[in-house]
């Protein structure tokens, strides 16, 4: 089984961290993983993306031109990556940042109002974990307990007290994701 995923949005939205937690979760599950960031002169407000591959076999190219799952968190990323979803693949977006959703009919499209939910939770930092929850709901990439283990691995110890909050955010994302 192999999943080729790209997560794209604004710098500062937690795109790279979300990919990192996903990669760590895959590691916890004994999968082969690769995490390939866009590492340009990125900054808060610029665009950022990360390619994450989770596989049962050795991973060949960390650089891909089409993906099983595309997660887009702003309009420039939607414009750039909607055509990169494999036929029959999945696209998830947060409607807060997207004014023109995809027109494609040959893929499954999901919406997660993560920005609204994060605001409701009064925790802007929960945003990317809500999106991760949505991603895990539509495709069981890794088991939830391995995500928690992945969080423990990727967060410095002093932040481990935040894990329950992250878990709640993942749950929130699982609850609110809808197919469009």
């Amino acid at each position: 089984m192999k999943h080729e995923i790209i997560i794209a949005g604004f710098g500062g939205q937690g795109v790279l961290s979300m990919g990192k937690i996903l990669a760590y979760s895959g590691l916890m599950e004994g999968k082969e993983v690769s995490w390939m960031p866009s590492y340009g002169p990125e900054q808060r407000g610029g665009t950022a993306n990360v390619t994450v591959i989770l596989s049962d076999e050795r991973i060949s190219s960390p650089v891909l031109n089409e993906f099983d799952i595309v997660v887009v968190l702003n309009q420039p990323s939607m414009d750039k990556f909607e055509s990169k979803v494999k036929k029959g693949g999945m696209l998830i977006y947060d409607s807060y940042g997207i004014h023109q959703p995809t027109q494609r009919k040959d893929i499954k499209v999901f919406k997660v109002d993560a920005m609204d939910a994060a605001t409701e939770m009064q925790n802007g930092k929960a945003f990317n974990m809500i999106v991760l929850g949505a991603l895990l709901k539509i495709e069981q990439l890794v088991k939830l307990e391995n995500v928690i283990e992945g969080l423990k691995k990727s967060l410095p110890e002093r932040h481990h007290k935040l894990i329950p909050m992250n878990e709640a955010a993942i749950q929130k994302g699982m609850d609110i994701v809808v197919e469009v």
Binding site: A23, W35, M36, S60, S61, P62, V63, N65
Partner: protein
């Protein structure tokens, strides 16, 4: 207990592996996309544990000369940089090669020329394997294609450097440096003691005892006859390295009709390209040079004999292709595909280019193979493949 599997960037793996090898000193100057090497070393603070020195020099030139000095004292020392910074180090590398000193230099390449971009590139192939600095010298060059190899090649690189008293370069690029993958770090080994250094490197400048002459570490020799003898000695060493230290990996080459030759991150991309080719019914093998110098010319020559065509894929305008062409001695068409300045092609793009360049017309209905060129016996091929298995650690 088995070593824990970790997830980290290639750059971070280099830093961890250096400490674990018992490296005495790292001297560097930050530059994207390799700054995590020094950043990780600073965070790990090995001067508190192993006693390793980590120093941010005032410039790349200073850093390579600190390496020159450390190596002259028999220490296990390294530096790292990216393309523009490595250009600055070339003079120092020529001196290190001329003084026959062991040292490890890491180049995490970015797009050039000049300051260029900070995105991945392989445009420093010529600089690395053809000289870079002045004089008839060679740098043993290891090209990692995974985070695991970033870690492993620190040990292999230092081992080779001390075996031949020669500079060794790890030639990576922004992809391998920045990506995170699983890695098993090498075991810790202690730094060499002064006694061990004296035994390993009797030429080292470590203080003169009464019972021997001064050890002089220099690349200067004003007597041309003596300088020619030095050069002849270097060349003899280089031939020995070419004989013994070639490394490569061959993937699906046994019954391939076409071959891709690619190193480092390009080889990773092309691994997927050969999968795509197989889906269209075309058998494509991949030969990945692990040492860029010494270059696996013999293996490419042997494999080339049974191929209908070879594509060399590099993130540059065509550099390694020259060595591939020399290796195959015009026995087979050799074409190039590359993207420049920091743009990375995807696996399908490479396949489309390969079909066009080598006029491959996949025919899924027919499996007949004709016109395969001069044939090579299965035994010969098995021998080539088994040789490489011994070479790959």
């Amino acid at each position: 207990m088995a070593e824990e599997i970790k997830l980290m960037k290639g750059n971070e793996a280099i830093a961890h592996a250096a400490i674990r090898y018992g490296c005495d000193g790292y001297f560097g100057y930050p530059i994207t996309p390799q700054s995590e090497i020094m950043e990780t070393l600073m965070a790990l603070a090995p001067w508190k544990t192993t006693g390793m020195v980590v120093l941010q020099a005032e410039s790349e030139v200073a850093a390579i000369n600190m390496v020159y000095g450390g190596a002259g004292c028999g220490k296990t020392v390294m530096t790292s940089s990216s393309s523009p910074g490595v250009s600055l180090k070339q003079e120092g590398m020529s001196y290190i090669a001329g003084a026959e000193l062991p040292a490890l230099i890491v180049n995490v390449m970015r797009g050039g020329p000049g300051l260029g971009t900070i995105q991945p590139s392989q445009a420093d192939y010529f600089q690395t394997v053809k000289g870079g600095g002045h004089g008839d010298y060679r740098v043993i060059t290891l090209a990692p294609a995974s985070v695991q190899e970033m870690a492993d090649f620190v040990k292999d690189g230092f081992d080779l450097a001390f075996k031949y008293n020669n500079p060794v370069m790890i030639l990576a690029d922004g992809i391998i440096g920045q990506m995170m993958e699983k890695v098993v770090l090498p075991p810790f080994q202690p730094r060499k003691t002064m006694e061990e250094i004296k035994e390993r490197s009797p030429w080292a400048s470590v203080g003169k005892p009464k019972d021997r002459k001064r050890n002089v570490v220099t690349s200067l020799e004003l007597d041309p006859a003596e300088m020619e003898r030095n050069n002849i000695r270097f060349q003899k060493k280089y031939r020995e390295i070419e004989d013994k230290e070639v490394r490569f990996e061959a993937i699906n080459c046994e019954d391939a009709d076409y071959l891709i030759v690619a190193f480092g991150s390009s080889a990773r991309i092309c691994q997927k390209t050969i999968e795509t080719a197989a889906k269209e019914g075309v058998k494509v093998g991949l030969l990945r040079p692990i040492t860029l110098w010494p270059f696996p010319s013999k293996a490419i020559y042997e494999l080339g004999k049974k191929m209908k065509g070879i594509l060399v894929m590099e993130l540059n305008a065509g550099q390694m292709i020259e060595d591939v062409k020399l290796a195959v001695e015009c026995s087979v068409p050799v074409k190039h595909y590359g993207r420049l300045g920091g743009i990375v092609p995807d696996p399908d793009e490479v396949w489309e280019a390969m079909k066009k360049e080598l006029e491959i017309k996949p025919d899924l209905s027919s499996s007949s193979v004709t016109d395969a060129g001069e044939s090579i016996s299965k035994e010969q091929l098995t021998e080539v493949i088994s040789n490489l298995n011994q070479m790959v650690p």
